[in-house]
């Protein structure tokens, strides 16, 4: 099981990545994360929404109200171009962290 801190830190890039594949809504995003992580990343469903709002406030995603198949109101989110750029940047950061960790655990001499 992944620690809470890691789950929280990876929230934004995960959501942005999922949205980069197309417009989606809260419940579907959660299902996608569960599927992708094979259940090893446990999200509290409700916590998704404050993150979505923060991302929207930062101008990385945009939302609109629509109707679901069952006729209920549903809020859809989609990625904006700033979001795409921010996502690239976040992925780079994670890549740096990951490769540093790998090198550290393999005991490779560090190249300066």
């Amino acid at each position: 099981m992944v620690s809470k801190e890691l789950v929280a830190a990876s929230g934004a890039p995960l959501i942005l990545s999922i949205l980069s594949r197309g417009e989606s809504y809260g419940y579907a995003i959660i299902q996608e994360v569960r599927g992708l992580s094979g259940g090893r990343m446990q999200w509290t469903d409700g916590m998704l929404y404050p993150v979505l709002h923060r991302l929207e406030e930062q101008g990385l995603i945009r939302s609109r109200w629509g109707i679901s198949e069952t006729g209920r109101k549903r809020r859809y989110y989609r990625l904006r171009s700033e979001g795409g750029r921010a996502l690239k940047d976040m992925m780079n950061q994670w890549q740096v962290v990951f490769s540093t960790l790998m090198k550290a655990s393999e005991g490779e001499p560090c190249a300066t």
Binding site: G26, D45, M47, H53, R75
Partner: protein, 237 residues
């Protein structure tokens, strides 16, 4: 046997009571909850169990409220200012109402030919009546007799909607109306009094005005103490 919609309604009010979710946030969360319940029911879970599982997965209201408060920080403070303004206006409205009632009683007494002395007591009685009425209304609102009204107010005011702010106009307008009424009745009763009686009447009114300044905070303190002993009925089962 509570039906599903009732339970969802109560869950929603419990969240709204946290004060940090807007109406739209609540709509979104409720839509998520219902979709989750729907999927679980498809997997042959009973509706009751589906509700409990879905609610658990969504997260406990306390942490959710905390997280939403961080995102809706501005709205949370606006909501607090709204309630403070509302409280101030409510007290002012009660004071003005009491003043009006007392002067109407004094006027009635003078008109009926009673002595200024007796009319003075009449007006004091009017003030006490107004206080009792306000106390009773506060009791009814806070002890759960008007649960639906509180839920509606909770939701309205935790949003950024203009509608919520406009509710403040009601006590504001009433204050002006009561104030005008007080002035008119004061003018009318002064005409019925001989100049030498005026001093007497005003003395009596001054006594009761100071009694009012003591009684009102006392009444509020009593209200607070009594309410802290009983649980204010909340929405969660």
């Amino acid at each position: 046997m509570c039906n599903l919609n009732d339970r969802i309604c109560r869950w929603r009010s419990a969240l709204a009571a946290g004060g940090s979710c807007s109406g739209q946030d609540l709509d979104e969360l409720e839509s998520h909850l219902r979709e989750q319940i729907g999927r679980l029911v498809e997997t042959d879970l009973a509706e009751d169990e589906a509700f409990l599982v879905a609610r658990h997965r969504l997260g406990d209201p306390a942490s959710l409220s905390e997280e939403f408060a961080k995102v809706n920080a501005g709205a949370v403070w606006r909501s607090r200012v709204f309630w403070m303004a509302g409280g101030f206006l409510a007290i002012e409205m009660i004071s003005q109402f009491a003043g009006l009632l007392s002067r109407v009683c004094a006027l009635a007494g003078l008109h009926a030919g009673l002595s200024p002395e007796t009319s003075g007591w009449f007006s004091a009685g009017g003030r006490v009546l107004a206080l009792a009425f306000a106390f009773g209304a506060a009791w009814a609102v806070l002890s759960g007799k008007t649960l639906k009204l509180r839920r509606r107010l909770s939701e309205l005011t935790s949003g950024a909607s203009l509608k919520a702010r406009l509710i403040l106009l009601v006590p504001a307008v009433l204050i002006i109306v009561f104030g005008a009424g007080t002035m008119l009745t004061a003018m009318a009763s002064n005409r019925l009094l001989r100049p030498e009686d005026l001093g007497d009447v005003y003395m009596k009114q001054a006594y009761f005005h100071s009694a009012w300044s003591v009684l009102l905070p006392l009444a509020m303190a009593v209200l607070m103490v009594v309410l802290s002993r009983r649980k204010i009925e909340t929405a969660e089962a």
